[in-house]
């Protein structure tokens, strides 16, 4: 097969599971056979194609193909097939086929299996992509993807709480590891300068010499250990047994947990060989080996036993990799394959037992051999392989392990103790294997089962048969069967340093054999002695307190509760602290530059003090202080005083050559006062605080004191800034341009107005939009307005006055108010047309003199509001139909259309045009688009201001809706 065809085949193999996953996901819920068929076909096709690719790797060259993905960061999708990858890919695919066949019969007919097979295929694809990755980042990418898909698989029976929490635990642990791995590989990439696997594998020395080696190593190891359930991250694996058994058989024997191992093997040439590697990996492997085996002994759940044994065997592989010698690495690869075969078959067997007997509890199982002899036999063989009985594949790799353990590699204590500890682990492993078999298949017929078990269907047994056959064949004829493949894999994995090794059943009497026999004998004996005690165990001795899940939960809950505490401590949900912080931060950052450069007022000549202005301005400031003082209990006083401040600032503007500002400020001031008063009606009465003991608490005093300090600091800061700026000469600004062009090119003498409607009309457009939005918001918010209970009723004054009118003969209710307003109302009516004329005047001359659309609009709306005040809402609206939203829309559209008209002449938006028209008798009439724009402003301002004020005013004449029966609602009008 040519390279090109092979590449295409490889892509095909990789994409097939993903495509299959999507296809299966689209199947109807009940289509069990179709789903299984598609999934099986996909996996089988993958297996076959992968097998076909073998020649490409057999000669040691491998295959590499890639597409560009994120070239600037060195991330390309590269598929890289070599011996090691091939072996793993085959494991993934072939065992996948078997698991799919098995699952077809295992899953209940009522299960919506398309989802299951879809997830399974997605996982298969991710796993394949992981092992085929030719780029480290790509590897990390698919690494996380396997975590995710396995999460879905583990949580497949999500109706069970255990499945949900197990899935979550597995996800959190492995995803966290994956993130560490990502950083780790990025570090490696930085050392090497590339994420390309080939490059990385070629730069082992450089990596080990780098100062980043240790962090990178640790991060990558964390990734690998979490995935491969190594101590102390092993705890998620037993809980993951909540997954359907096919998932366990697939993920937890052959694939997912092997990803970590794969990574360690893959990077072995680069990372191994340092002391840190040896110490960390070996000891973690050893601890995991012993711990897992020890815990497995005491499990009562079949799958639990297998899970812990998996942990233990993964420990073996890790240990082997940790030792660091090439031969150990060979053993590791070999054991990986072996473990995959026997453990997958054991899981499947356990699944059959569960299926048939209805329980996986070892204490309830007994004597199943008579019901399912074939399954029992198969399980026995597989278990024997697990225990390391000769003639089976497990034995071979175990021998290699013992040999390596005995080998003296260095002087450390660990090295010395290794053979003994490994043997202890093996003894345990024999013990639990024996227990597994004996307890379930032998002994008296079971009594605690709910149904009578019998042999599983043939097709369900078939996968086990295939796998057990593999165990036996490899065990007996290792050199012929697995030998070549292993050889290719080892060469690919270890590169140049491939050692001489021999795969044979018999190596003569040797220390490893002795230890092996000891382990077998002691293990069996221990079972015979402790069998009964083991059945009574309900916890793992010595490790009882180290329940992984409880610790995980505890860690998470500590995390969450401390986060909550920290959130309260570091954050706040209250407004005052937030404003305080904001002011403080602003003060602080504004201060910083002055700390460095010092503060100095400028040198420009000062303006002479003008007593009249100075007096008014200081009175205005005094008003502000007094207003601040009164605002808590005397709101009205505060409003009055703040108005005073506003007025003073108007005068300031007049004095300081800004008549436009003064005019506008004055008008806005008036409207704001009315607005605040409208609001005041709905606020509660404030009474002075009555502190216990008539004394203000210290905390309150302190807070007020600190607020005062902040306020003074802010004020002083702003004052200092203002002073420093005002005393500096004005830079050569752009304002000259406006002054010079205003009349010539803008057609107006009032430069401020020309800026607003021409030079910077875009600002004005935005500004009126703000006004429009606010008006609409106010309007819509008030539609749902719900006054507080005590302010729903008429104000006290009105009630008293109405009561008075009612109580007195010759008076009708409402007389008081009508007497009150009779004269003012007449006068206000008179004033109305005058205000209208003034508004028009302000509008028309704005371009040349102070005024303009905005001022005119506000004046107009004040005229309206006055009528409302004098005559009342109903009376005004009976005569006057105000449609504020239409005004707003018209204003906006006119302004925007004026601007857009320029586009018709291919001028930019808002390009103005003006012309002086000679009209006989009258003289020159200025025609300017700016005036039209200002008209938009005018209309909008009238509409928006009126809408805001009227909407608030309307609240007074609305009444709560009382729900009637039948859900209908009705409004009861006042009076």
């Amino acid at each position: 097969m040519s390279i090109a065809t092979s590449s295409v085949t490889l892509w095909f193999v990789l994409l097939l599971p993903f495509v299959g996953s999507l296809a299966v996901a689209g199947l109807p819920t009940r289509s069990r056979d179709a789903a299984a068929l598609i999934a099986g076909a996909v996996a089988l096709a993958g297996t076959v194609l992968m097998a076909v690719l073998y020649p490409q790797v057999a000669n040691g060259t491998g295959l590499q193909t890639g597409v560009s993905w994120l070239p600037s960061l060195g991330l390309d999708i590269i598929l890289r097939l070599d011996g090691l990858t091939w072996i793993f890919a085959m494991l993934v695919l072939a065992i996948g086929v078997l698991v799919i066949v098995y699952a077809r019969y295992y899953m209940s007919p009522r299960d919506p299996v398309p989802r299951f097979f879809s997830f399974l295929l997605a996982f298969m694809g991710s796993m394949l992509a992981l092992v085929l990755s030719g780029n480290l980042v790509q590897l990390a990418f698919f690494w996380e993807l396997t975590s995710l898909t396995s999460f879905l698989l583990i949580g497949y029976w999500h109706q069970n709480e255990s499945a949900r929490s197990a899935a979550r635990m597995a996800l959190v642990v492995t995803a966290a590891g994956g993130l560490c791995l990502l950083v780790g590989v990025l570090l490696i990439g930085k050392i090497v300068g590339s994420y390309d696997l080939d490059t990385v594998l070629a730069s082992g020395d450089r990596i080990r010499a780098s100062s980043l080696y240790l962090p990178a190593l640790i991060l990558i190891l964390i990734g690998a250990f979490t995935k491969s359930a190594q101590f102390p991250f092993h705890f998620w694996l037993p809980h993951a047994m909540a997954a359907p058994t096919p998932v366990s058989a697939y993920l937890h024997s052959a694939t997912m947990v092997k990803a970590g191992i794969f990574l360690l093997i893959r990077l072995w040439p680069v990372l191994a060989g340092s002391e840190a590697w040896y110490l960390i990996v070996t000891s973690v492997g050893l601890i995991t080996l012993i711990l897992g085996a020890w815990a497995a002994i005491f499990q009562q759940d079949l799958k639990g036993l297998l899970a812990y044994s998996t942990i233990s065997h993964l420990g073996i592989i890790t240990l082997l990799l940790g030792i660091g010698s090439p031969l150990a690495a060979v053993a590791a690869i070999f054991h990986t394959i072996n473990h995959a075969t026997f453990k997958a078959s054991l899981f499947m067997a356990a699944g059959i037992i569960d299926h048939e007997a209805g329980t996986r509890d070892l204490r309830k199982l007994s004597g199943l051999y008579r019901f399912m002899p074939i399954t029992a036999t198969l399980a026995m063989v597989a278990a024997a392989a697990m225990a390391g009985v000769p003639l089976l594949n497990g034995f071979l790799s175990k021998e290699m392990l013992l040999a390596e353990a005995l080998e003296e590699t260095n002087e450390t204590l660990l090295d010395q103790a290794l053979p003994y500890l490994v043997t202890v682990g093996l003894i345990f492993s024999v013990l639990y294997s024996v227990r597994f078999i004996h307890q379930s298949f032998f002994g008296p017929p079971p009594t605690k089962l709910e149904r009578r078990p019998h042999e599983a269907p043939h097709w369900m047994r078939l996968p086990i048969e295939v796998l057990v056959l593999a165990c036996v064949v490899i065990g007996i004829l290792p050199a012929v069967t697995i030998g070549p493949f292993l050889d290719v894999a080892v060469r690919a994995a270890l590169g140049g340093g491939t050692p001489e090794y021999s795969l044979a059943i018999w190596h003569g009497f040797s220390k490893p054999l002795l230890l092996s026999v000891i382990a077998l004998v002691l293990g069996t004996a221990a079972y015979l002695v402790f069998a009964r005690a083991l059945n009574a165990a309900d916890a793992v001795p010595l490790l009882g307190r180290l329940r992984g899940r409880r610790m995980f939960d505890a860690v998470l809950s500590v995390l969450v509760s401390s986060a909550r505490w920290l959130e309260d401590w570091l954050g706040t949900r209250r407004l005052q602290p937030q404003l305080r912080l904001m002011v403080l931060v602003a003060c602080a950052v504004a201060l910083l530059p002055f700390l460095r450069h010092g503060y100095a007022p400028g040198t420009a000549p000062r303006t002479l003090i003008d007593p009249g202005f100075a007096l008014i301005w200081l009175i205005g400031s005094a008003c502000a202080v007094a207003g601040a003082w009164q605002a808590k209990y005397h709101r009205l006083a505060a409003v009055v005083l703040v108005s005073g401040t506003g007025l003073a600032s108007c005068i300031g503007f007049v004095w300081l050559s800004a008549p436009d500002l003064a005019l506008t400020q004055l008008l806005v001031e008036t409207v704001t006062t009315v607005l605040l008063l409208l609001g005041l009606r709905w606020l509660p009465k404030r009474l002075p605080d009555n502190w216990p003991g008539k004394r203000t608490p210290a905390s309150v005093v302190l807070r007020r004191g600190s607020d005062l300090l902040i306020a003074v600091a802010a004020g002083a800061g702003v004052a200092a800034l203002a002073y420093a700026m005002m005393t500096r000469p004005l830079p050569d600004a752009i304002s000259r341009f406006f002054l010079e062009r205003s009349y010539a090119e803008g057609g107006g003498r009032n430069v401020v107005n020309v800026i607003l409607v021409d030079f910077r009309a875009f600002d004005t457009l935005g500004e009126i939009t703000v006004l429009a939005i606010v008006a609409l918001t106010v309007f819509s918010l008030l539609r749902r307005f719900r006054p507080a209970r005590e302010s729903v009723r008429d104000p006290e004054q009105q009630r008293l006055q109405d009561a008075f009118d009612e109580a007195h003969a010759g008076r009708a209710p409402g007389d008081t108010v009508s007497d009150y307003l009779v004269v003012p109302r007449i006068i206000l009516e008179w004033v109305f047309p005058f205000i209208v004329v003034i508004a028009l005047y302000l509008f028309l001359r704005g371009h040349d003199l102070p005024g303009g659309g905005f001022a005119a609009g506000v004046a107009m709306s004040i005229a309206l509001i006055l009528q409302y005040m004098a005559a009342g809402t109903r009376s005004v609206e009976a005569r006057l139909r105000v449609r504020p939203t239409d005004w707003i829309a018209a204003g906006l559209l006119i302004a925007a259309a004026t601007g857009a008209a320029a586009l018709l002449f291919d001028h930019p938006f808002l390009t103005s045009w003006f012309h002086y028209l000679e009209v006989p008798l009258i003289g020159k009439i200025p025609l300017a688009t700016a005036l039209l724009f200002d008209l938009g402003v005018f209309l909008l301002v009238v509409g928006a201001t009126a809408l805001i004020l009227i909407a608030i005013a309307h609240q007074s004449i609305r009444r709560p809706v009382r729900p009637l029966r039948g859900g209908e609602e009705t409004g009861v009008e006042k009076r």
Binding site: G810, R811, D815, S818, D819, Y820, V822, V823, I826, I827, E829, W830, F832, P833, F834, V836, V837, I838, L840, Y841, L844, R845, A863, Q867, R879, L880, L921, I922, G923, I925
Partner: protein, 162 residues
């Protein structure tokens, strides 16, 4: 005519105000001012105040002169009160029954009384036609009542209700 110019007098006043504001008698301003006056008087029409009968101007002019004198006089009087407080000065409320019912007249009277320092229009009871007045320097209630009735109300009655 009514349709186009609902309140001719008002429109004239508005035009006057416009011309005063623009400080110009040019044709352009006259036109603009007329337009504004038109709009203004239509704005008034929207409010639909009750129609008023013709107002006689002669009594009003006389009234204006009187008020001008009174304002200056009472200004000085009140200034004296403020600057040189004298013991025994009493201020208080006076009730005065009014014959004037016309809205405009009432409003004008209220303006005059309030604008004159020393007297303050406080309340008018529409049913009893009773005016409540506050006087800064109250010597004799009766005297105030007759003063107001004879000095202002008579003229106002002539202007508005004759």
């Amino acid at each position: 005519m009514r349709r186009w110019l609902p309140y001719p007098g008002l429109a004239l006043a508005l035009l006057l105000v416009w011309l005063l504001l623009s400080q110009s008698l040019s044709v352009g301003q006259l036109l603009l001012g007329s337009g504004a006056a038109l709009i203004g008087s239509h704005a008034m029409a929207v409010l639909r105040p009750p129609r008023r009968r013709r107002v006689r101007l002669a009594p009003l002019a006389k009234l204006g002169a009187l008020v001008a004198i009174d304002v200056v006089r009472s200004n000085l009087a009140v200034a004296a009160i403020i600057l040189f407080p004298r013991k025994g000065r009493v201020s208080g409320f006076v009730r005065i029954p009014l014959e004037l019912t016309e809205r405009g007249g009432l409003a004008l009277l209220a303006l005059i009384l309030t604008a004159t320092p020393g007297t303050l229009w406080v309340e008018y009871d529409q049913r009893k036609r009773m005016l409540l007045l506050h006087v800064l320097d109250l010597i004799d209630e009766e005297e105030w009542a007759t003063l107001i009735k004879s000095r202002y109300e008579v003229l106002l009655l002539q202007a508005f209700e004759a």
